[in-house]
């Protein structure tokens, strides 16, 4: 059995510091590389194997994506996401992914971009569907 009691205090602090520094550097690098939207004017929905649907932000529309394809109606079957776009805002209305985390990401709009942790994105990782509030100059 490995003994964990009687560990070297200095070595542990050094390693912990190195791990935190590594994470901090990576996080700063990501923040620097984070794309800044020019003047967002459209929502881009990416789904399936890289397909994209661009919708002007002022349009009102509901988009249903099932198993990587856009379909007319939501049935709740397969891997389904329902995205609502309305008057410059977009949100994940329903999704049958395991933990519904995309639905908890809130509304994406010009007013909320600065305060949302995910910035200009709504991401449904399990279904590989994401919505981007995009503009020129990105």
């Amino acid at each position: 059995m490995t003994e964990t009691t009687g560990t070297c205090r200095k070595r542990n602090w050094l390693l912990l510091g190195a791990a935190i520094l590594f994470a901090a550097l990576l996080a700063v690098l990501c923040l620097l590389l984070r794309p800044k939207p020019g003047a967002p004017d459209r929502f881009v929905i990416r789904y399936g194997s890289g397909e994209a649907l661009e919708i002007p932000a002022r349009e009102t529309r509901t988009v249903v994506i099932r198993d990587g394809k856009i379909v007319d109606e939501a049935t709740g079957e397969g891997d389904e996401n329902v995205i609502r776009i309305e008057n410059g805002t977009a949100w994940m209305e329903t999704a049958n992914c395991p933990h519904h985390e995309c639905m908890k990401q809130g509304v994406l709009s010009a007013d909320t971009v600065g305060s949302r942790p995910l910035g200009t994105w709504i991401v449904c990782a399990p279904h590989r569907v994401y919505v981007e509030y995009a503009g020129d100059g990105q």
């Binding site: 908890k104 399990p126 590989r128």
Partner: protein
């Protein structure tokens, strides 16, 4: 594999599954998907310190496979597998350093888990949303890694004290 080892693996796999389920019930930051306490990594941390590298990797594969089957989907399994492979490799490597405490090992494991998941996200989703996502995951991965390390240190101290008493 000895019966004793097999039994211990089965008990640890069951514990990891229960902790995975508990994890899914505790949303830390609902607006950022993927941020979890990672309670089931306590089991892997135990395996890193008290079992062989082969048994640890096997336990990680059992945990990823079974928890994805029960509480997730195929895409989730890919994320968990990449995170698990990187984090367990890193923890096994660091564990070779003499007199190392579980706290830095767990912190490194948490960070590497996020790095692995983010790399899979870059391939499966896209590089750009993952860049927006990664800083939040890195902060949470470091914090929960340290927290679990502190919990593991207390637990390991108890286990070792019990073993010493039994041996005496």
């Amino acid at each position: 594999m000895k019966i004793r080892t097999l039994t211990r693996m089965a008990i640890l796999a069951a514990a990891a599954l229960i902790l995975s389920y508990l994890d899914s019930l505790i949303p830390l930051v609902p607006s950022v998907p993927g941020i979890k306490l990672g309670l089931s990594n306590l089991v892997l941390l135990y395996a890193v310190f008290y079992m062989t590298p082969f048994e640890t990797v096997l336990l990680m594969l059992l945990k990823v496979g079974l928890s994805s089957l029960l509480f997730g989907n195929a895409t989730g399994a890919l994320y968990a597998f990449a995170g698990g492979v990187l984090s367990v490799s890193g923890m096994l490597f660091l564990h070779r350093i003499p007199k190392i405490s579980p706290i830095p090992v767990s912190a490194a494991g948490g960070i590497l888990h996020i790095v692995g998941q983010s790399l899979v996200g870059c391939v499966l989703i896209s590089f750009r949303p993952m860049i927006a996502y990664a800083p939040w995951l890195l902060i949470s991965g470091t914090a929960t890694g340290i927290l679990l390390g502190v919990a593991a240190r207390a637990a390991f101290y108890g286990i070792e004290r019990y073993e010493r008493r039994k041996a005496a």
